[in-house]
């Protein structure tokens, strides 16, 4: 088809030469880009303008808040590392107090980044033991949450934290409300020896659960459990009361971390799981009533596996028989027994 006058004109335009004129700048090409810029000030990002560097206290607090609330994995880890270095220096720098640090960093037990968790363990180990033990109750709660976490990594790492806590607060841990019962439940659950499963009917195939894929993990869990039981049912060494103790008892404020916990002044009514089991007998009783059966079944199964798991199981078995030797079932009349009578 013959094109219109308009189209012809358009075509012509492409081949027209620019006309130069004397005394005028050459016309710009159609694809010319203007690269000139104007600026009144040069702005530099990320530069502190303060003349004085922040003091140590400020920096410590800043890092603490970074560790607890930063969204960046690396930043968290670095902040934790900084805190660890400050705490392990001689003399240790700790402007906020152990308790405050713990309350900030304990939620990191379930942190999603592995390096941050391992750094956290180092930090915890750097804390003074006698101060850290005042936060046992919070710590064990977070550790239990970590142990049952959906992610296998987190739950494995939580064992390390539990180890630390056993080091820090052995007697306190098993004596606080829920410390004995709930921790044992958690152990049973993560190892797949569920305490509340009904024994009647068919038994399901032995499952170690998705977490204990590696035999190593199971072995570690068992050895930790045996340590926990050991601590929980330590033979009582009778202490000869001195004269000083008598007066202390009357006139001094007790220095234990949970001195008046047994009064339960602020909490609601406690169920069995949240009960305090302060004496060895009480703990023995709970263990034999609720957990002995599933644990011994689990031990039997684990022994058959042999290897590291078998060894750990044997060890656990030994501890269990050793500690439960002096226990007789009908000795105590428990609340539960009374309730059952009702």
């Amino acid at each position: 088809m013959g094109s219109s006058a308009k189209k012809k004109k358009e075509k012509k335009k492409d081949f027209q030469k620019p006309k130069y004129k004397v005394g005028k700048t050459a016309p710009k090409a159609s694809n010319f880009t203007d690269t000139s810029f104007k600026s009144r000030a040069i702005v530099m990002n990320q530069q502190s303008l303060s003349t004085a560097a922040p003091d140590v206290v400020q920096q410590f607090k800043h890092n603490l808040s970074l560790a607890s609330s930063s969204k960046n994995d690396k930043q968290r880890r670095d902040a934790l590392a900084y805190l660890t270095s400050q705490l392990s220096s001689q003399p240790p720098v700790n402007p906020v107090g152990t308790n405050n640090i713990l309350s900030k960093v304990l939620p990191l037990i379930s942190d999603r980044s592995t390096p941050a968790r391992s750094q956290l363990l180092k930090l915890l180990q750097a804390l003074p033991k006698d101060e850290a033990k005042h936060s046992t109750r919070e710590a064990i709660t977070f550790i239990r949450a970590g142990m049952t976490h959906l992610s296998a990594d987190i739950s494995n790492d939580s064992l390390g934290f539990l180890e630390w806590l056993l080091d820090v607060a052995d007697d306190d841990l098993v004596g606080i409300p829920g410390g004995w019962f709930k921790t044992l439940t958690t152990f049973c659950v993560i190892m797949g020896w569920s305490p509340s499963s009904s024994a009647a009917g068919w038994t399901s195939a032995p499952r170690t659960g998705p977490q204990a894929k590696g035999a190593q993990v199971l072995a570690r869990q068992m050895s930790l459990l045996s340590r926990f039981i050991q601590i929980g049912m330590k033979p009582v060494i009778p202490v000869i009361p001195s004269r000083q103790d008598y007066w202390d008892n009357l006139y001094r404020i007790p220095r234990d971390p949970h001195a008046f916990e047994y009064l339960n002044l602020f909490g609601g009514t406690r169920d069995e799981a949240n009960e305090m089991h302060t004496t060895r007998e009480a703990r023995q009783e709970v263990l034999s009533r609720k957990f002995l059966d599933p644990i011994s079944k689990g031990i039997e199964r684990a022994k058959k596996e042999g290897g590291a798991v078998g060894r750990a199981a044997t060890e656990l078995d030994q501890v269990l028989t050793d500690r439960m030797r002096d226990y007789t079932a009908s000795e105590l009349i428990t609340d539960q027994y009374l309730l059952d009578l009702w």
Binding site: T141, F142, T186, V189, G209
Partner: protein, 737 residues
């Protein structure tokens, strides 16, 4: 650092959605996993409760996830999750003020989920949620809770009415209102009740009782809510019902859609659902209409209620309610008085001070006054009111609108209690029919025609009109005395009689001579029949009626011979007087025969038709004196008192709006067709053939034009013939085929 290899299974395990899916698929084998998550939940809960107010975002989120997971699988492990519901209840009822909003919503949602899975029952859910709804300070929370509560109540009442639950909730609401009369919390009880009333879930007397208590509250908001319920709740209910019955599914369309689109299970299910719905709707249609009494009728002891309302909110000087509220309450009180014919004597004297043209929204007050009058109100109480209205409103000096309003109000009052009028006043007022203002004139004429019917002797002789004069002279028309009741009848019965008459006429015309044989056959019966009728109409003895009943029950089996029988009846009577007597007799149809269901249906139809006719205005004049909407239960509004809108002078805006009605929008100055065309184009519609022809390129038409010139006469004839033929057939494409 070397990245640890993650096994595929482990990866999958690490999210809650897949775990939840697996657990739900096979709860038994995933019990260990569940137990672990349960422990995790316990731990998270503990962490959360260590500091519920200052929980970190992370802990809130993980707790949120855990609650979600457990709630979804709770029905698989009822034994293990025994404590879950109590935990949730405790969390939300103790901490709802401080909880993170997302977590709070999740907890409420989980509770509702548990209810859906029937882990907990409705009572437990509602008794948890309702106190929170009442006490929460967060608006979004309240909105959500209200929705959830409402939904749950609807669901639990969907299959059959859940009486125990309804009773419980009603008791809760009642207690909420009566416990603290001055608190605004009761507003929630009102909202809930009103919503459920609207949806016809609660239709008995108990919700009405709740509202009644709310009317007597001390908080203004509560009062207004409850009063509005009585004034508008039933209308709302009817509207909703109409709406829901309107939406209908076109099954054919759905079926067609399936043939076009890709076949999928989802579509199949949608079709099944549609079929189900249509079936349900049909079933619903064939079901007998549920008896829904209006709230005003379900009131227990309306006399006490109205009196209390009046003395508490209106009569005293102490109450600080706004005028609007007072008007609403007044409407309710007078509506009750009019509807139930209650006697509250101080009510009428209370009106006196409000009856001045300067009073704010006086038309509404006047409407209330008229509404509160019935034939058992002592005329002495009304007389001063009418006098006052006449003095204040109706005078030469007052504006025409004011006078019209006054006259209308007086007419409305007098149409309910005609004895309240004095002779001199009436004769005065009637003279306004000569007024130059149309509104006043019409109002005065209305009053006049009212009194021609109810009290003609009070009018001057020349005002009475023909009918009233004749009635008075023959003694057929008498003013009713105080307390005298009219003899009742069935509305529209005369219409039915007339219709039957016409039907008979038609039948006879159709049959003509051929009906002789059948007439002969029926003859003895007919003779018996007509005799019986006459006897019955003369002395209306018991025996006559009995025989008639038997006779009509024979007829019921076959409606056709009944009409033929009528033919014979009719042929006997030929004079006009006889026909009139027949009509009279037929209006007594109900006392002499049993109306068959077909008759009743016809009656209903005729009534509807006549009411439509009335609305169309063909009999407007006749109906002016009665309540325009026709039903006694409907209240009187200010609009009825004000002059009709056409009589008023229109404002400029109204005139413009009237002129613009039905014309297209006009931003720029264009012809109407141009605007229409551009609209069509914008809607993506095609042009017409004419348009196409007109727009066709000139060069393309040249060839045809040239060849046209060269055509021979024969060819031209052929073409023209073809054109004519085509147009008779309806175009090339044949209309209608």
């Amino acid at each position: 650092m070397v990245k640890r290899k993650v096994a595929a299974l482990e990866k999958i395990d690490a999210d809650f959605a897949s775990l939840q899916y697996k657990i739900r698929r096979d709860p038994k084998s995933y019990k260990d996993d569940f137990m672990k998550q349960w422990e995790q939940y316990e731990a998270q809960r503990e962490i959360f409760f260590m500091s519920p107010t200052t929980a970190a975002a992370d802990s809130v989120e993980s707790f949120h996830n855990m609650i979600d997971l457990i709630a979804h699988v709770a029905d698989c492990y009822p034994e293990e999750t025994r404590t879950f519901q109590d935990d949730l209840k405790a969390i939300v009822s103790q901490n709802h003020e401080t909880l993170h909003p997302e977590l709070r919503d999740k907890v409420v949602g989980s509770l509702v989920l548990l209810r859906r899975k029937e882990v907990i029952d409705s009572t437990a859910l509602l008794t948890t949620l309702f106190p929170i709804l009442v006490s929460s300070r967060s608006k979004s929370m309240r909105a959500m809770l209200f929705q959830k509560i409402l939904n749950d109540l609807r669901n639990s009442n969907s299959k059959s009415t859940n009486h125990p639950l309804n009773r419980t909730i009603q008791a809760v609401l009642y207690n909420l209102i009566t416990a603290d009369r001055s608190s605004p919390r009761a507003i929630w009880a009102i909202k809930l009740t009103r919503e459920l009333w609207k949806r016809q879930i609660w239709t008995d007397a108990k919700p009405v009782d709740i509202m009644k208590e709310a009317c007597l509250a001390d908080n203004e908001k509560v009062i207004v809510g409850a009063v509005r319920f009585f004034l508008g709740g039933d209308k709302e209910r009817e509207e909703l019902e109409d709406e829901s019955s309107d939406e209908e599914i076109d099954l054919a369309k759905v079926r067609h859609q399936i043939t076009i689109n890709k076949k999928s299970r989802k579509q199949n299910q949608a079709y099944k659902k549609a079929v189900d719905k249509v079936k349900r709707q049909e079933k619903k249609k064939s079901k007998p209409h549920p008896l829904n009494f209006s709230a005003l009728h379900l009131l227990h002891d309306p006399q006490d209620f109205a009196e209390e309302l009046f003395t508490k909110h209106l009569q005293g000087t102490k109450n600080k309610l706004s005028l609007d509220t007072k008007l609403l309450i007044l409407q309710l009180v007078t509506r009750l008085v009019g509807l139930h014919k209650l006697t509250i004597v101080p009510l009428y004297s209370w009106f006196i001070k409000y009856l001045t043209p300067k009073q704010q929204s006086v038309t509404s007050i006047l409407a209330s006054l008229a509404q509160g009058v019935h034939n058992l109100v002592p005329p002495d109480a009304l007389e001063p009111l009418i006098q006052k209205i006449a003095n204040e409103f109706v005078s030469e000096a007052s504006a025409s609108e004011v006078a019209a309003v006054g006259l209308n109000a007086i007419r409305e009052v007098c149409s309910r209690q005609s004895l309240a009028m004095t002779e001199t006043l009436l004769q005065d007022l009637v003279q306004y029919r000569k007024s130059k203002d149309k509104g006043v004139m019409m109002a005065a004429k209305g009053l006049l025609s009212l009194y021609r019917e109810v009290g003609a002797e009070m009018l001057k002789r020349r005002d009475r009109g023909k009918e009233a004069t004749m009635g008075l002279s023959s003694g057929g028309m008498k003013q009713r005395k105080f307390g005298e009741e009219e003899v009742g009848g069935i509305e529209g019965l005369d219409l039915l009689a007339k219709w039957k008459e016409e039907q008979r006429e038609r039948k006879r015309a159709e049959k003509g001579d051929g009906s002789d044989v059948s007439d002969d056959e029926k003859d003895p019966e007919d003779g018996f029949n007509s005799d019986e009728w006459e006897v019955g109409s003369e002395d209306s003895s018991d025996s006559g009626e009995w025989i008639n009943v038997e006779h009509s029950s024979d007829e019921e089996d076959e409606p056709a011979p009944k009409k033929r029988k009528g033919d014979g009846d009719d042929e006997d009577k030929e004079s006009a007087q006889d026909a009139a007597a027949e009509l009279e007799r037929m209006t007594k149809l109900a006392t002499t025969t049993i109306l068959t269901p077909a008759d009743l249906a016809k009656l209903q139809e005729l009534r509807a038709a006549s009411s439509v006719q009335k609305a169309m205005g063909s009999k407007f004049r006749k109906q002016q004196n009665q309540n325009p909407d026709g039903h006694v239960d409907d209240g009187l509004t200010a609009e009825n008192i004000e002059a009709p809108i056409r009589l008023r002078k229109l404002t400029k805006e109204e005139k413009v709006a009237l002129a613009k009605e039905g014309k297209p929008d006009r931003e720029e100055h264009k012809s109407t067709t141009a605007i229409r065309k551009s609209k069509k184009e914008a809607a993506g519609k095609s042009t017409s053939n004419k348009e196409k022809q007109r727009k066709k390129n000139f060069l393309m038409t040249l060839g045809k034009a040239k060849s046209k010139q060269k055509r021979s006469l024969v060819e031209t004839r052929k073409v023209l013939r073809g054109h004519v033929e085509r147009s008779t057939r309806g175009g090339r494409r044949r209309n209608g085929t």
